[in-house]
């Protein structure tokens, strides 16, 4: 079953939260909607039925959402679990509440908490609680899954478990919508990414058309790259000042809305160059284009994580342990560089 937004529009008094957009979330597909916290809160309120759209409608399958919302399962950022119940009791409660035939043991195994079945939820870690929340959602077995920032602050193990679960759900033909403000997590988990803000809904292109873009750029590049002096520093703009950075200082570079952001020690600076130009300049310093919108300083990479067979991340050795998406094709390239066959 699919979730469809038809001409959906929301404004509060004079402020536009989002202008009219159409979006159809297909079954068997993970769709990410990247938005600000405010837009996200509004979307959730709409889907719960707390508020109404200013215009247009939202449908689950063929039903208008105003007639009931039984087919959507929500995973909220706040956990909503009973701290004094054990994991097992919590899941049995959900099983009875939703009157399902699905097995509690099965869902407990899927989130890999069978060893902690008797542990009180209050004593679990944040990530484990999130997994319990996921298990409740599995028992609920809705057609549409709505996940609010599901991987925020999750530890590596839980993230892996959850991503694997999402792959399974996708292959079962469920529609999964993730609402997030974090592009990295969207890139790692989702098949399609949209950005929703007061300018409307825009699809964020993933790596598929990367090669074409490369071809286009080649022509203009030759002209650009004539530099009178050999100059290695990378200029960035801070308000009206121009600040120069040594390439080894840079952790990674991210492109967002056509702008390049250089991340250094947890701070980000706007660069006037495109990612393509920066890649050309930085290649000799051991930088690597790990994804269509990311360049990473390979000297700073600590770990390569394999989430599922075709989603990967790089973990950096900086203070925030940033994770950078690594696309499938680039993974092969990186393996070559590292000497793996």
């Amino acid at each position: 079953m699919s979730l469809t937004f038809v001409n959906a529009e929301k404004h509060i008094n004079d402020t536009i939260v989002f202008p009219a957009f159409d979006l159809s979330v297909k079954a068997g597909c993970i769709t990410a909607i990247h938005s600000s916290v405010n837009v996200r809160a509004q979307l959730i309120d709409l889907l719960i039925g707390n508020t109404l759209l200013s215009n247009g409608n939202i449908q689950v399958g063929k039903d208008d959402i105003r007639n009931g919302i039984r087919n959507i399962g929500f995973l909220f950022l706040e956990d909503g679990l009973y701290d004094r119940l054990s994991v097992e009791e919590m899941l049995f409660f959900y099983k009875r509440l939703y009157d399902t035939d699905l097995l509690v043991n099965e869902s407990m195994r899927k989130i890999q908490l069978d060893t902690k079945r008797k542990t009180k939820i209050g004593q679990l870690s944040y990530s484990e609680k999130k997994r319990v929340q996921f298990a409740c959602l599995l028992l609920q077995n809705p057609d549409v899954y709505l996940l609010e920032e599901f991987d925020q602050n999750l530890d590596m193990e839980s993230k892996k478990i959850v991503l694997l679960l999402l792959q399974q759900l996708r292959s079962e033909g469920k529609s999964i919508v993730m609402l997030t403000g974090n592009m990295e997590s969207a890139v790692i988990a989702a098949d399609e990414i949209y950005r929703l803000d007061d300018q409307g809904l825009h699809q964020v292109q993933l790596e598929t058309d990367m090669e074409e873009e490369g071809m286009k750029d080649d022509v203009s590049k030759a002209a650009d790259l004539v530099q009178p002096v050999r100059f290695e520093k990378i200029p960035t703009k801070v308000n009206e000042k121009i600040v120069l950075f040594d390439p080894p200082e840079i952790d990674y570079i991210e492109s967002n809305d056509g702008q390049s952001f250089i991340h250094i020690k947890g701070e980000s600076f706007v660069s006037p160059f495109t990612l393509k130009e920066l890649e050309e300049r930085l290649l000799p310093f051991g930088f690597f284009r790990s994804h269509r919108s990311y360049i990473v300083n390979l000297q700073k990479v600590r770990e390569v994580i394999t989430w599922t067979r075709n989603s990967f991340s790089l973990v950096l050795d900086d203070s925030e342990k940033s994770t950078i998406p690594l696309s499938k094709t680039k993974m092969a390239e990186l393996k070559n560089m590292l000497g793996f066959k």
Binding site: G80, L81, Y82, L85, L97, Q140
Partner: protein
């Protein structure tokens, strides 16, 4: 949608487990039996003192526990999950009310046994007590809708506790301040009046006015609760 007893039962069992593990709230159920035991040993057996304990049970257990059950769901953001589930509001409230109702019943029976209270006509008294507990469950639900956390619930319930458990003193004050005669219509005073009549050998037909008084209170409080619920949930 059908009213499902399975879901009510699921909610009841969940609340029972949560309640029994939350000592801060569940320890109040020991108060009335302890007081009853002391009264019983001291040989105090006036009808007022028996009903001081019973009314205290209503305020401290029925209303307070019900209020805390609802406030805690709100505090921990679990109410949203329940509301999004197939369980209707009626089922959620029934599950919760069932717990406070059963607790009240058990505590009143134990306290009556300990304070050696043996009513002359047990059916009439039982009916009156059951009706009164509906009133206090409604009161607890209403306060629970206003409270945002268990802490707030404990504060909100204090005025109700004072008014309803020690309310019988107001009748004495009313001799001095006639305005307080209004208090004679409070459900707790009605209950005491009914019990006194029963001790004097009254039958079902003789206490209809008091029973009607309690029923009116039950209706008022549930009407208020439903109105408040509609208002609060729209926001």
């Amino acid at each position: 949608m059908m009213f499902s007893l399975r879901r009510v039962n699921a909610i009841f069992q969940k609340d029972y487990k949560e309640f029994s593990r939350n000592m801060a709230v569940s320890s109040v159920i020991f108060m009335p039996p302890i007081l009853a035991a002391i009264y019983g040993r001291m040989g105090i057996d006036s009808i007022e003192s028996h009903y001081l304990i019973i009314n205290m049970t209503f305020a401290m257990i029925t209303a307070y526990v019900q209020c805390c059950l609802i406030a805690e769901e709100k505090e921990k953001n679990t109410l949203r999950g329940l509301m999004l589930s197939p369980a209707t509001t009626g089922e959620i409230l029934s599950g919760k009310s069932l717990l406070s109702f059963l607790l009240t019943g058990v505590v009143i029976v134990i306290s009556a046994f300990l304070s050696e209270y043996k009513p002359e006509n047990i059916t009439v008294v039982a009916i009156a007590i059951i009706l009164s507990s509906f009133f206090y469950i409604g009161l607890g639900t209403l306060l629970g809708l206003f409270a945002k956390s268990v802490m707030e619930a404990s504060v909100l319930v204090i005025p109700a506790m004072i008014l309803f458990s020690f309310g019988s003193f107001i009748t004495k004050l009313a001799v001095q301040y006639p305005i307080l005669k209004v208090a004679n219509y409070l459900p707790n005073i009605q209950l005491i009046e009914l019990a006194t009549e029963v001790e004097n050998g009254a039958h079902f037909g003789d206490v209809l006015s008091q029973l009607a008084g309690i029923i009116i209170w039950v209706m008022i409080i549930w009407l208020l609760t439903v109105v408040t619920y509609r208002k609060r949930m729209v926001d």
